[in-house]
């Protein structure tokens, strides 16, 4: 289980005078589902391209399955399946033909290629559309076909760049489930990049947060939150009326509260511990009517959002 599959060591990539990725070190073990998170332009795609040997790092070493990606990219590509962010297919060919073409490039015998293509199309629920031209596929279908395409070569590692981009929520759910199942079934290592955090949260064992070419935090969602904010990790949403400045002041005075924010429907209170009882008591004491109170842990969305919010503050101060 602890066999290292992907290893990046002090990798930097420089475009002109700007670093797309800087001093990145990352290790991913076999069978893991790793999520690469970050806003657009954070260097996720660059990292992925370097893993595949499609882009050369300015410095540092990249090893995939024990093979140097810079020196022997073709052997790496034999073992790694890659789903690009803007995936396209040959529109005048059917889904099945596209898959068989990929198989031919991987030296699979024709008969075997066809069987595997049909098997995978069934896996991604595209059997009905197998003989349809891919030009007529919807975005979600293309993405699923892309997943099948990645699996054609029976890879040890699959790398998915923004797999959920532009798909409806139901499609996203389906696709993520497929990725998770396939990863488990075939014992594959999965690396996926995204900026849709709660989706990644559902399936990833481990997550790395990428900002401006730096990996600023990594670990599972829990440790990520701890790494980023040693303090407040709980948010309580309150619906009450009326909300008076006095009420806000009183709430802010509570010991465990870090921040009180007025939102459209009520208040959002960030705090260190679960103090919903105390909050409701305060509200009632102030003579306001409490209609709703709920609490949730920080998901990645919050971590992410709060990180950037905090960054803005830190940068401006």
């Amino acid at each position: 289980m602890n066999q290292t599959v992907i290893q990046l060591d002090q990798v930097s990539k420089q475009y002109d005078d700007q670093f797309a990725v800087k001093d990145l070190s990352l290790t991913i073990s076999k069978g893991e589902i790793f999520g690469l998170l970050g806003p657009n332009g954070a260097g996720k795609t660059t990292t992925i391209l370097m893993l595949l040997g499609l882009s050369e790092p300015t410095s540092g070493s990249v090893t995939v399955c024990g093979i140097d990606s810079v020196r022997r990219p073709i052997e790496v590509k034999r073992r790694v399946g890659y789903l690009p962010d803007n995936i396209g297919f040959y529109q005048n060919m059917t889904g099945l033909e596209n898959l068989v073409y990929t198989a031919e490039l991987n030296n699979l015998p024709k008969k075997q290629a066809r069987e595997r293509a049909e098997y995978l199309l069934e896996k991604v629920n595209l059997t009905d559309a197998a003989y349809k031209k891919t030009g007529k596929y919807s975005r979600g279908m293309k993405q699923r076909l892309g997943l099948a395409d990645v699996l054609m070569k029976n890879p040890e590692v699959i790398i998915l760049d923004e797999p959920t981009l532009g798909i409806d929520p139901e499609g996203v759910r389906e696709l993520l489930k497929m990725i998770q199942e396939l990863g488990k079934e075939e014992g594959m290592t999965v690396l996926l990049s995204s900026h849709h955090l709660h989706q990644v949260q559902q399936i990833c064992d481990r997550v790395g947060l990428f900002v401006k070419g730096h990996l600023i935090a990594e670990g599972n969602v829990q440790t990520l939150a701890e790494q980023l904010f040693d303090s407040a990790t709980l948010r309580i949403t309150v619906h009450a009326s009326p909300i008076t400045p006095e009420l806000i002041r009183r709430l802010q005075e509570l010991e465990q509260v870090e921040q009180v924010q007025v939102v459209k429907s009520g208040l959002e209170i960030t705090c260190y511990e679960d103090i919903s009882a105390m909050i409701s008591k305060t509200i009632v004491e102030m003579g306001s009517a409490l209609t709703h109170i709920s609490q949730k842990n920080f998901g990645l969305d919050e971590i992410y959002h709060r990180y950037f919010e905090g960054r803005d503050l830190r940068e401006s101060s």
Partner: protein
């Protein structure tokens, strides 16, 4: 004598240029091979790409339409050639077969027209480049824009397979189309005129068809080059067509302008000066691939043309007026041929190099 040494010099120069180009081309290849050591040659994958590209070409509308236009043009030119040749035979009143071999009548199938429609070589010279450009202009950037490039290159194939396979597929289509056209024209010529070609005539036609393919390959490579350099298909199509129109229409105009001032009769004093200036104008003209092509076709298909430049009286004294044998015709156009091949290779080499160094990301 002076003239032949001039030609020889030309041959050597162009040959050197070609050789250099070849060397740089191969060294790039070995580099890429060295970079990807191990058992990475994968001929079946290469053939798979060629097959797929070829299928794409013959299924695409623009190639079909261009093919039909070229076919129609051929039929038209064949018709006018045949009518004018049979008129000539009727007038001569001799036996067709002896007349045919004397006058190279069979070759005239490709060159003669009665004025209503251009001849076969004019059509090929005009439509061939367009065909080459249509094959090449979107080869790389369409893959990029469709998002298939990164998917393709994440497969275990060397990067140069893609551009090489595209070139091979397009060239294959060219060879097929032009050889079948040429052989069809020959077949109809035999059927309708009743004159069989001599072996020399057949060889001349064969070389002519090869020349056509080289010429079209030049435009094909120019298209591929632009498809690598420009991200948008429209830009690369328009710029290739712009280059084509420039050489087809404007280049000769510009040279005419230059030559008018160069060859001003008031300024010229001696014969050698006239010859010199004429030579300069010719050299300038020969920078255009169109001109190289038309010179070579003229020599190949009209054996009676004995020289491409001006001839002085001394040079023609004692010469027996008669058709040149094939070997001499070939010798005469050797510089043109090597020049064309060199231009083709240079285009491809630049396209190849810039493709190998390009970033793969789609946006």
């Amino acid at each position: 004598m002076k003239f032949t040494t001039g030609i020889l010099k030309g041959v050597i120069c162009v040959n050197l240029a070609k050789l250099k180009n070849k060397i740089s081309f191969f060294s790039v290849q070995t580099e890429s091979v060295q970079a990807e050591k191990g058992k990475n040659s994968n001929p079946s994958a290469f053939m798979a790409i060629v097959r797929k590209e070829f299928t794409d070409y013959i299924r695409s509308w623009r190639i079909l339409i261009l093919g039909v236009i070229i076919l129609l043009a051929c039929i038209g030119s064949l018709y006018t050639a045949i009518t004018s040749i049979s008129d000539a035979i009727d007038q001569a009143g001799k036996e067709a077969e002896t007349l045919g071999s004397d006058l190279y009548l069979f070759l005239q199938l490709f060159t003669v027209s009665d004025g209503t429609l251009p001849s076969f070589i004019t059509f090929v010279g005009f439509l061939g480049p367009l065909f080459g450009i249509a094959l090449g202009f979107d080869s790389i950037n369409s893959e990029r824009n469709r998002g298939t490039l990164s998917r393709l290159l994440s497969q275990p194939i060397p990067r140069d397979y893609l551009i090489n396979a595209k070139f091979v597929a397009a060239l294959l289509l060219n060879v097929l189309l032009f050889f079948s056209l040429g052989l069809l024209v020959m077949a109809f010529g035999i059927l309708i005129l009743g004159i069989p070609p001599t072996f020399e005539e057949f060889l001349r036609i064969f070389f002519f068809l090869c020349l056509c393919i080289v010429y079209i390959a030049f435009w094909l490579n120019l298209g591929i080059l632009f498809s690598v350099v420009f991200k948008s298909q429209a830009t690369s199509a328009l710029s290739s067509i712009a280059v084509w129109i420039f050489f087809n229409v404007f280049y000769s105009m510009i040279i005419n302008l230059v030559s008018k001032s160069l060859l001003n009769p008031e300024k010229l004093t001696s014969v050698s000066e006239v010859l010199n200036k004429q030579g300069t104008v010719l050299t300038l003209m020969r920078f255009s691939p169109n001109y190289l092509f038309s010179e070579s076709t003229t020599i190949l298909l009209s054996p009676n043309v004995r020289s491409l430049g001006p001839l002085t009286v001394e040079q023609t004294v004692g010469a027996v007026a008669g058709p040149l044998p094939l070997s001499q015709s070939l010798l005469l156009i050797w510089p043109q041929l090597t020049g064309l091949v060199a231009a083709t290779l240079i285009c491809f080499a630049i396209a190849y190099l810039s493709f190998m160094r390009q970033e793969i990301r789609t946006n």
